[in-house]
Amino acid sequence: MGLTSNAQDAFVTFDRVQKSYDGETLVVKDLNLQIGKGEFLTMLGPSGSGKTTCLMMLAGFETATHGEITLDGRPINNIPPHKRGIGMVFQNYALFPHMTVAENLSFPLEVRKIGKSDREAKIKRALDMVQMGSFAGRRPSQLSGGQQQRIALARALVFEPELVLMDEPLGALDKQLRETLQFEITNLAHELGITVVYVTHDQTEALTMSDRVAVFDDGRIQQLDAPDTLYEEPKNSFVAQFIGENNTLTGVVSKMKGATCEVRLDDGEIIDAVPVNVSQVGERTQVSIRPERVEYNPERLTEGAHTIHAEVLEFIYMGDIYRTRLRVAGHDTFVMKTRNAPDQRRLTPGEKIEIGWRPQDCRALDA
């Protein structure tokens, strides 16, 4: 997205960072990451993947066992959290319950010895930014979850930090509120030009909000890319499975043909695929295809592409799309999503059809 950064102009860098809590197992293994100024970067991954630990190291609440973290060119390993000047939003809001909304926002300004009139102006601006201007006199316990998170956001922004960290800030909210706030947070971040590091385990959130997404698993970044690249071109089977819905077929690489390869599936069928991290004939592979890239209308298939037999098991009409579950090459969970177009035929369970896809949409990944 043009925001990719080389080490010189990166705002935040993790350089070969490792973290272990017990001195034996590494929670974060060899993390290298550059975050550009003004970038919205999301750390996405299942729980225990090390993403929150990375955020806590950046905030200063955990120390790196090895490696170096720099902020604006300065190493920050030896700077305590309160001197880093990084704003932070917590999942449970962490508003001070004995203070009013205005006092909560005033706190970071008071510890910075900012004068009263300045403080009031900044508090007002921050509250207006999150549309909570009329709530200054309330206490946190008098606000709903969404309102509390708005205040927490205003508090993290009121002292004008250049970097804001968010640790699953929308995790405790209901779906609709979450979507509204996702939109508001992204807009605010881009308007203010702040750098945001956002942690979530919700892949939709990651895809819709971020400039780049770092997918974490097992203490490593599995893939770091813009949301569209991440979705369209997963680099390994973990990322393919974790982001969005994916169909997986297993087989062996039978022929390498340069940009494409042929895969013999376990039941003997042959399909075309793009070799991503397989390189040799005979290697086992997991082939992954997005449900919306599978086609059964022969007119829509690329000429010369291999097709494969399938049996319809279930056909669900979902309004805008048809969702069909198929038996393909011995797998019962193969899903196909087709747009509800005027020329599209509805299928019935038990029907035998031929399906296919463009070879570039079918990716042969590590098994």
Binding site: P80, H82, G85, I86, G87, P108, R112, S141, F159
Partner: protein, 285 residues
């Protein structure tokens, strides 16, 4: 609360329903009756510890304030009162500061031997008082604290610390750690965070602990007899001496005053605690 028996209650449940009330009544009676008896007795016109026939007949002549007058004019009692008032608050301040810090320290996850340290700190509450007192006597004698004002203050502080640790630890259980992290991320150093975030939120526990520590010092007689000298004779000590040597009903007047002070303190502290809980949004309204 519903005080009525449900229509489907069995005979056993009915019997228990009333028996429970009788038992509760008896418990309250045994707890409170001795204290309540003291109050009218302290207005006895005679120098006896018993109700005179005149008092039982509610004859105004049989009642007087002479024992109260004695308390406020007798130099021995006045000195004892001064000693108590000088010792208890200082011992309380020491207990509260040390006990609160200990509780916060012991609530950190990385502290080793937590259980053992906790056991040692609250041992003055469990070990029989006479043992603590004797131990303190020998120890304080060696280091020159026996018979001094600070000796008694330190001894009473040691007795009060367990109460503070227990109440503050209980409050810390509900304390959200991310609040201190939030304060740090907002730029507050640990000291500011402690005084502006943590302290106001655990204040109810600190106040109740402080109250217990104060009352412990104010009512304590065993340790002060061992550790103190004539110059530190506190009210309870003076009462004890009074009982042994002269059996003056002035003791009853003092006891009544102490009961009133205790009730007053409890009420004030409870009101403060409720206000503080309301402030930190623990309960509505």
């Amino acid at each position: 609360m519903d005080h009525k028996l449900p229509p489907y209650a069995t005979l056993g449940q009915r019997i228990w329903f009333y028996a429970f009330r009788v038992i509760c009544g008896l418990i309250f009676f045994f707890l409170i009756a001795p204290i309540l008896t003291i109050i009218p007795l302290s207005f006895n016109a005679e120098s006896f510890f018993t109700f005179t026939p005149g008092m039982l007949a509610l004859d105004p002549e049989a009642y007087s304030l002479r024992h109260y007058v004695d308390f406020f004019t007798n130099p021995d009692w006045q000195q004892a009162l001064r000693n108590s008032v000088m010792i208890a608050p200082v011992a309380t301040i020491l207990s509260v500061s040390l006990g609160t810090l200990a509780a916060i320290g012991l609530s950190q996850s990385h502290v080793p031997f937590k259980g053992a340290i906790m056991a040692i700190l609250i041992s003055p509450m469990i070990v029989p008082l006479i043992i603590s007192a004797a131990g303190m006597y020998f120890f304080y004698s060696r280091i020159g604290l026996q018979g001094t004002y600070w000796g008694v203050v330190l001894a009473h502080a040691a007795l009060g610390i367990p109460f503070v640790i227990i109440t503050v630890t209980a409050t810390l259980v509900g304390f959200d750690r991310s609040l201190t992290r939030a304060a740090a991320s907002l730029g507050a150093n640990p000291v500011t965070t402690f005084f502006r975030i943590q302290m106001p939120l655990i204040l109810p526990g600190v106040i109740s602990g402080g109250l217990f520590a104060f009352i412990t010092s104010f009512d304590e007689v065993v340790v002060v007899i061992f550790v103190g000298s004539a110059a530190q004779q506190t009210l309870p000590w003076q009462m004890f001496t009074g009982l042994r040597e002269q059996i003056s009903p002035t003791i009853l007047a003092v006891a009544t005053i102490l009961v009133v002070i205790s009730i007053g303190l409890l009420t004030v502290v409870e009101l403060l605690r409720r206000r503080s809980e309301r402030l930190r949004g623990m309960s509505p309204g």
